[in-house]
Amino acid sequence: MYGLGLFKGLGVTMKNLVSPSRQFNIVQYPNRRASPFDLAKVDNQNPVSFIATHPLKTLRSLLGLETITDRMPQHANFRGEEFAWYDRRCTGCASCAKYCPLGIIKIVTGTSGVNQQEGQSYDIDVFDIDIGRCMFCGLCVEACPYDALHMGSGFEEGKYRRSDLVINIDQLKSAEKKPSTWFRPQLTSRGHDPIKGSTADWEEVGRHEKPSLEDQSERWAKR
């Protein structure tokens, strides 16, 4: 019937207005107003006792002054910009630099003074990633033969200057290592989830299990 469609449409919008299950999954990044119930949940208390014990905080939250952080739930595979780089694993082969479509990774190596006879012949002097030009395709991670470079999990790297966006070797060394599981199935199989805050040591991120001491000794014995 002519004209009925208009009212059907009105019904759809009203349904979306009232039914909570049809609401957008809204994340009020970076923070949102906290009700006393939210605050009680953060404090792991039941709401009644929270309101009784923290009257000032309750009042502030009712006035809208209390906020709690709110972030989008991400998957562990998320390709973020805080690269995780393990200097113990990196040989300075520069595969990542060659594979980068934009050529934003700069690696300078020099001969190392120590242990030259045992094969550790190179020191990495410079390892710069210009994340201001990075498009987070992850090809550098794919190219790394020693699992030294990993995508990160964060995305809050806003800076005031372009030059600040270049991550240098000291920052990479000292940064908290929260590698993404992107192209690193071994991390997934270990239950690693950077979004939940788990960090990974250089020994854990490799593609292969490190042989145990007994293993090694057995093999040596067989030889």
């Binding site: 019937m1 002519y2 004209g3 449409g9």
Partner: protein
């Protein structure tokens, strides 16, 4: 109904108060005009401030409500529930640079926002809000109240055309040309809708219209309500009739070149329009401040206004917009005819009721019993018209033929 000069927002009471004040100071009878002037100034001061505040909160409400319809949150950062957002917006607009294009007609460009805002405010003067004591309008009983409204609203089209023309912008001119054509067309159905009210109420005064609604006029003549509602939606250019500033077509329409405080005033006028329309519709069709006794009349009035505003928002958030020629066609082909038919029907029924002695004691309006009879007849006729039009128009126009594959390029597709 005897006017009680007890409440301060009545014009007479203010006049009496100022006259007393002048006498107290020691001026004589010859300064009586001063009392009238002062009373007028205080009334306008009151109206401007109340309306601007109401509009500010209305913008907040509209943004929140439409956000909820669109499953979003809406402004929620400034103040409790984001209620201070309109003030932040106004502050921002005031602090922005007030630019006037080089080629613009500067006096007209400057006057246009004022010309748009003033009539909108003036309408509020004659609305009987129903104070807590009796049905008083701000400006007392203006005995040509509804005529005043019809006259004053038509200034809008001039103001919109001023804004568009003076901007020297092609989008603005297109928007204001559409506005001029559309607003003038929709004045007529609006006037027709009002006329049918006048037949039943027998008076032009807004307070009389309210007091004659022993049965709400929406129940007596649904067709008149529909005609008036559609026409006034178009008058304030809301969806589905928002051709004047069709943002997906014209960018922003007549206010493309405006910025700063001028833009704020234009927007104030635009967002005040739904409030004013809701007030007029409430007065004409929803019985104004009439209601049950447990709440005062003013609150009933506000409640009814709120319902109208909510329905308008609901329409706005659901429906797309019509094309300009379809809008004009709707005005002239549908609303005009329906309005005329409604007047004929109501007039016929009124005179018949008069024959059967259905006039109330004031000799101009009908008794509730006859109103209900007329209402029943009108509802039946309206539903019949809806059914006939729906089936005839719908079947003819919008049945799609079954799609058949074109013979031109049916290249070897294996049917599954």
């Amino acid at each position: 109904m005897a006017p009680t000069p007890a409440l301060f927002i009545s014009f007479e009471s203010l006049q009496i108060f100022f006259a007393g004040l002048i006498e107290l100071i020691g001026f004589g009878e010859s300064f009586k005009w001063l009392a009238t002037l002062l009373a007028g100034i205080s009334i306008s001061f009151l109206i401007i401030n109340v309306m601007v505040m109401a509009t500010a909160f209305y913008t907040w409400f509209e943004r929140r409500m439409i956000a909820r319809f669109q499953v979003r949150r809406g402004p929620n950062r400034n103040g409790p529930f984001g209620m201070l957002q309109p003030f932040a917006d106004v502050l921002k607009l005031i602090m922005k640079e007030d630019t006037i294009p080089d080629e613009a007609d500067k006096p007209v460009f400057t006057l246009a926002p004022i010309a748009l805002l003033a009539p909108t405010l003036m309408i509020m003067i004659v609305i009987p809000f129903g104070t807590f004591i009796d049905d008083q309008a701000f400006l007392s009983n203006l005995n040509i109240g509804i005529l005043f409204i019809v006259g004053v609203t038509s200034v809008n089209s001039i103001a919109i055309f001023m804004a568009g023309w003076a901007s020297r912008n092609k989008y603005a001119i297109l928007g204001s040309m559409r506005g001029a054509a559309m607003l003038i067309s929709y004045e007529i159905p609006m006037a027709l809708g009002i006329t049918s009210v006048l037949i039943l109420s027998g008076s032009l005064a807004m307070t009389e219209i309210v007091s004659s609604q022993s049965v709400w006029f929406i129940l007596v003549m649904p067709m008149g309500f529909f005609v008036f509602m559609a026409a006034s939606t178009a008058e304030m250019s809301r969806t589905p009739f928002d051709q004047i500033e069709a943002e997906s077509e014209l960018g922003s329409g007549y206010n493309t070149e405006y910025s700063g405080i001028k833009f704020a005033v234009l927007f104030l006028a635009e967002f005040m329009a739904p409030l004013v329309t809701a007030a007029v519709v409430t007065t004409l069709f929803l019985g104004g401040s009439r209601g049950f006794d447990f709440l005062p009349g003013g609150i009933w009035f506000a409640l009814k206004m709120f319902i109208i505003i909510f329905v308008l928002l609901w329409f706005r958030s659901t429906w797309p917009r019509l094309r300009i020629d379809q809008i004009m066609g709707f005005a002239w082909k549908t609303l005009f005819g329906l309005g005329l038919f409604n007047i004929f029907l109501v007039a016929l029924e009124f005179s018949l009721a008069d024959q059967f002695g259905g006039l109330a004691s004031d000799k101009v309006s009908l008794t509730p019993k006859y109103m209900l009879i007329i209402g029943a007849i009108n509802w039946i006729i309206t539903i019949a018209i809806i059914l006939i039009m729906a089936n005839v128009v719908g079947r003819k126009k919008y049945t799609r033929p079954e799609p058949t594959p074109s013979p031109l390029a049916n290249m070897g597709i294996k049917e599954s």
